[in-house]
């Protein structure tokens, strides 16, 4: 692999990885607090892609209003899902709430197929984002260069929010011990809603960044990114925000370089992610940055 290809892959990989990182943060925060894999997160991400299409193609919004609009609508969708499908099951066994999450994912995919038809839809041009930019011999749309910057900024904002604000303190308390936090007067439902607000707005931003360099959105386009980002969250240590970002970068880079170095293995790039997951879970189940938690009886 010559230097130009190497840099081209590096840019693509870092960009893909940062988009993954944003979704993975959503997974990791929800898991940290509710101990639930939000199977619907990837589909919320896919819906955000469709919302963008509608905002631009049907309503003709400029790019800055589009971003705001998509974020708000996605957050409403996510919080509604939490209120309707997860909240009533909070006291029930883990399996019920997981089935509910799968049910929501199934519902979102089927609704997208029904509302927007199963045919792929073209993703619109968003302002300057898709303009191709050249650095030396490496060329990519501007969005590819912006994505990592956005991710890093968001990461630091979140770290500040979680570690130095009152809401963040409440979140940490809830993730440590649900019941004790409730007894301390923390409004559990409010904290969980805030978590979903953060997770879903990141999914919305990530959808815009992820789909911009790609031509199409279709009802299943959230499925694979969703699973991969969960793997990313596990790699970094579930419940850990910087871990999720690192995991996202690892998955994004590994995927890009696997295809770049061994083009004949393209069909296995998805499979590779899961091999990574299994290896990780066997040798270091708490992830790269995760804390060790003793099993309670």
């Amino acid at each position: 692999m010559d230097q130009v290809t190497l840099f081209q892959n590096l840019v693509t990989g870092v960009s893909l990885g940062s988009a993954y990182a944003l979704i993975a943060i959503g997974y990791t925060m929800v898991y940290g607090i509710l101990r639930l894999i939000n199977f619907a997160h990837g589909d919320i991400f896919m819906m955000a892609g469709y919302f963008t299409i509608f905002a631009v193609s049907s309503f003709g919004m400029p790019w800055y209003i589009t971003i705001l609009f998509v974020t708000v609508v996605t957050v409403i969708l996510g919080v509604t899902i939490e209120k309707v499908a997860y909240r009533p099951l909070r006291e029930s066994p883990r399996m019920s709430i997981m089935i509910s999450a799968i049910g929501v994912s199934y519902l979102l995919v089927n609704s997208a197929t029904y509302l927007f038809t199963g045919l792929p839809r073209a993703f619109p041009q968003l302002g300057f984002l898709q303009k191709v930019y050249h650095i030396g011999d490496v060329s990519a749309p501007i969005v590819t260069f912006i994505t990592p910057v956005v991710t890093i900024v968001i990461l630091f904002v979140l770290l500040y929010l979680v570690n130095f604000t009152k809401i963040g303190m409440a979140m940490r308390a809830v993730s440590k011990d649900f019941e004790a936090a409730r007894l301390m007067g923390i409004e559990i439902n409010k904290i969980i809603s805030i978590t979903f607000v953060i997770g879903c707005s990141l999914a919305a931003i990530s959808a815009i960044l992820y789909f911009s360099p790609r031509p199409m959105v279709f009802p299943f386009s959230g499925f694979m990114p969703g699973l991969k980002c969960f793997v990313a969250a596990v790699l970094g240590g579930i419940g850990n925000i910087p871990g999720a970002v690192i995991g996202g970068f690892i998955i994004g880079l590994a995927e890009t370089f696997l295809v770049g170095i061994f083009p004949q293995l393209t069909g296995y790039s998805d499979a590779f992610t899961f091999v990574l997951l299994i290896v990780m879970l066997l040798f270091r189940p708490t992830g790269l940055l995760g804390e060790k938690i003793a099993e309670k009886v």
Partner: protein, 378 residues
Amino acid sequence: MAFEYKRLNKTTKIILTLLLIAGCIVLTYMLDKGIIGTSYTVRIVRISVIYALIGVSMNLVNGFTGVFSLGQAGFMAIGAYTVGVLTIPLASRPNVYYLVPISEKIQDLVMPFGVALIIGGIFAAIFAALIGTPVLRLKSDYLAIATLGFSEIVRAIIANNQMWPITNGSLGLKSIPTFPSLFIPVIISTVGIAFMVLLIKSSYGRAFKAIREDEVAAEAMGINLFKHKGLSFIISAFFAGVGGGLLAAHLTAIDSNQFKIMVTYELLLIIVLGGLGSVTGTVLSSFMICSGKELLRWFDLPHSIGTWKIPIFRPGLRMVIFSLLLMTVVLFWRRGLMGRKEFSWDGIYNFLRRWPWRVRRLIRGDYSKKQEEVTPNA
């Protein structure tokens, strides 16, 4: 007056069971010979019994052992492709593998359907044994993701370039011989389900249920967690493979896209609706879902009142209704049709007796919920 739970005597139950079996045989025969129903009805019955077998196999792991596995679609794909590759008649092979010729090692290999079906099941079981070693050590949600991942890996491998000479890649397989009679899928499913019922009733089954209730307590009682979970997982995969093989023969044409994760979700809908931990519930809901899916096709067609075309009727509405149904069951009716109970003549008898009793109570205006029924310990 409290409701009194009465039991039927043994002879009545045996007679009723024999009558039911005879009824099923007669019904299958009549459907098969075209005396009642159309070929469309026969297709629905065929798909229902196949899904019943796969559903019960999934329930064995998820409902009885408490291991949340989502890999069923992958095991089905293994079974379906094995049956497909081994049973396509020699004459049609050049037509099926028109792009990339079939590998020389298997080009003359044709097996009878039954043998191919068992081999398909065994392949699925071997794959389950291989992935079970790492996967079953994981905790509930990690296990779900890992099995989901493996089922996608199976699909990726089937459609991959290197596998073209065997699986025909993304073109899929066609000209798979179908069943000569409706009895074949019905009998195979019945035998498979009966095997799993016997397993659940054996000491292994009791160990499975103990693991479902409390892993730590079960281990303390001397149950080997890994061995029992593995056994349940492998047997489940075997029957999912057999079910996949039946599905291949039912559809006569398969491709890797038919074994997407949505299939697993549909099976989950079936077992949740039937009741996690109920074999008869799964069979019942499999018939309900499979026939419901066909009946609800009405919703996918355009309809109009007079000249006004109702805008909500278009392709896809059916699946939205199905997913809403799943959500309703999950949120409001968590036990499903049967909960963890099984079908029994006593249950039916008392269910029927209870209705007149409820009506009488309603007329008398006695609404006290308590003492509604006196159920002796089963």
